[in-house]
């Protein structure tokens, strides 16, 4: 049966989650992410999965973490204010090494901000939103098609690395309606978690140190007992104060991302060969930059190149460093729908080699191709 029809961006996230095998959703509705929950509430029961609206955002991510530990793929979604509430449990998911997909459909902030407006002001919240050193994977879709496929990829990364993965969508993409032809779910490449299979009499070690960076994952209600806590734990999941164990566990947890960054990265490159201005932009601003580059080329100026990280965290540090070092560009340009977050990472990698110009828009409306063309003409 053809799956070609008009979809809403948030709906695409839900459908992708279901196609990727997500079988539990817990949430609390919030604009501009609510359609994700609405679709899940209707469709999840039809595939035999669990759906629950909890009393708040904290409880909903708690339920999603619990579900993941019964062996199912699990998801929660919200927007900035709700992600702030979820922050505590995001840390819990990191330290318990729980595969989980967390969607943030970004809106204006801080606090309740501008609920129906678009924004990219949670880029750094995704990286540092919960306390303590913790691994972070965050994907930033820039088109409707990517709302679908990056959600599938988020589940794959979560399963493969046993860690929460955040999708940073935005209001404009969440509420965008467009026609797409979705693939047959059977054709998707899906990753399933490495399951632990302790033999009778053998104790399951959720944080085994001798199984590579990602220990196999257990599941409750499958015949053996184990313990999980937010405290630093030993291999068996019980609290420990052994300094060597804590150090080793913390480092292994971080190494899941640090040692596998290249496998997590995905970038979009547009007109980088002819260009002499290197734009670094993510999400819908990245798509606007590509349109701006096309508009400029149509006007006889093909000097705007666009490097668009789709995996924001971990950041494509080597790739950007190589572009800066290539000598092809006279400057860097960082447009973003916030007051300067992505630019911090670009500055760090640039190490003062190229001049950096910015465009920072936080009035509730998206960065447009015209905004970019105008700013490029102004500053370069």
């Amino acid at each position: 049966m053809s799956r070609q029809q008009v979809y809403n961006g948030n709906e695409l996230i839900s459908l992708a989650a279901l196609d990727a095998g997500c079988r539990f959703y817990a949430g609390y509705p919030i604009t501009p992410s609510s359609e994700i929950m609405e679709v899940m509430s209707k469709r999840m029961p039809k595939v035999g999965g669990g759906f629950i609206q909890m009393e708040d955002e904290i409880a909903s991510i708690g339920a999603a973490i619990g579900a993941a530990w019964t062996g199912v793929k699990s998801m929660t979604a919200s927007s900035g204010p709700g992600i702030s509430l979820k922050a505590e449990h995001i840390g819990f998911a990191c330290i318990t090494e729980t595969p989980l997909v967390i969607v943030n459909v970004m809106r204006g902030g801080p606090s309740t901000g501008f609920p129906t407006a678009t924004s990219q002001s949670d880029l750094m919240q995704a990286r540092w939103g919960t306390h303590g050193d913790h691994p972070v994977i965050a994907l930033v879709p820039g088109t409707a098609t990517e709302m679908y496929y990056e959600t599938v990829r988020a589940f794959n990364l979560a399963e493969q690395y046993r860690t929460p993965v955040m999708i940073l969508a935005d209001e404009m993409l969440g509420h965008l309606n467009t026609m797409l032809d979705l693939p047959d779910p059977a054709t998707l490449d899906l990753v399933e978690r490495k399951l632990a299979d302790p033999k009778p009499g053998e104790k399951y070690r959720p944080f085994a140190m001798d199984q590579g960076d990602v220990p196999p994952m257990g599941a409750y209600f499958r015949g053996y007992r184990f313990h999980l806590t937010g405290l630093n734990s030993n291999e068996y999941g019980y609290p420990t104060i052994d300094p060597a164990m804590i150090q080793a566990q913390q480092e292994r947890m971080m190494n899941k991302v640090a040692n596998h960054t290249e496998e997590m990265l995905k970038n979009d490159a547009f007109n980088l060969e002819k260009a002499d201005i290197l734009t670094v932009a993510v999400g819908s601003t990245g798509s606007a930059a590509k349109q701006a580059s096309k508009d400029m080329t149509a006007d006889g100026n093909d000097k705007l190149g666009v490097f668009r990280p789709i995996t924001l965290w971990p950041f494509p540090e080597k790739e950007l460093d190589a572009l800066i070092a290539s000598g092809r560009y006279k400057g860097l340009f960082v447009p973003e729908a916030n007051l300067g977050q992505l630019v911090l990472e670009v500055e760090r990698i640039n190490r003062g080699r190229l001049p950096i110009q910015t465009l920072q828009k936080v009035n509730g409306f998206p960065v447009t191709p015209d905004d970019i063309v105008k700013r490029v003409k102004e500053v370069f």
Partner: protein, 180 residues
Amino acid sequence: MSFHYEARFAAIGGQGIITAGAFLATAATLEGKYATQSPTYTSQVRGGPTKVDVIISDEEILFPKGNKLDLFLAMAQKPYDRYYSELKENSLVIVEENLVQNVHDDGHRIIRVPIVELAEKEIGLAVTISVIATGLVVALTEIVTPDTMQRAILSRVPKGTEALNMKAFQLGMDVGTKLK
């Protein structure tokens, strides 16, 4: 030059204009074109200025907000004032005659239609204004055929309201055809 068309409908939240944008985008995709529908609205359930941008193109659309509008339709003064910008030269401007009285006279083609009055008198239901508006748009722009627009509307309206919505669409078509 490739085909590229930008429409913006502006209204008061609750008038149904975001849905009208979805009808247009759906109809365009039924004709094999790329189309996006991107709404902008406020936190109020109804009453705030609202707009919807529809881009129709024969190429993939990278950015779904309009900046060179071929068509601007406004159902009330406040959203007209807020979102009247980014028009191309010689754009078509359609306004609700009784609710948008202060109209810029800056070279665009202006069509005034008492859409709310038509909905109340001819259909008997003010909620049909957005469907009447889509009829006007199809008649005046021919951007999609009446047939695909009807199919788009029928694919998205609640069951049991089909006949009423088709009547409203036809009313918009008839009024629009006379104004061509």
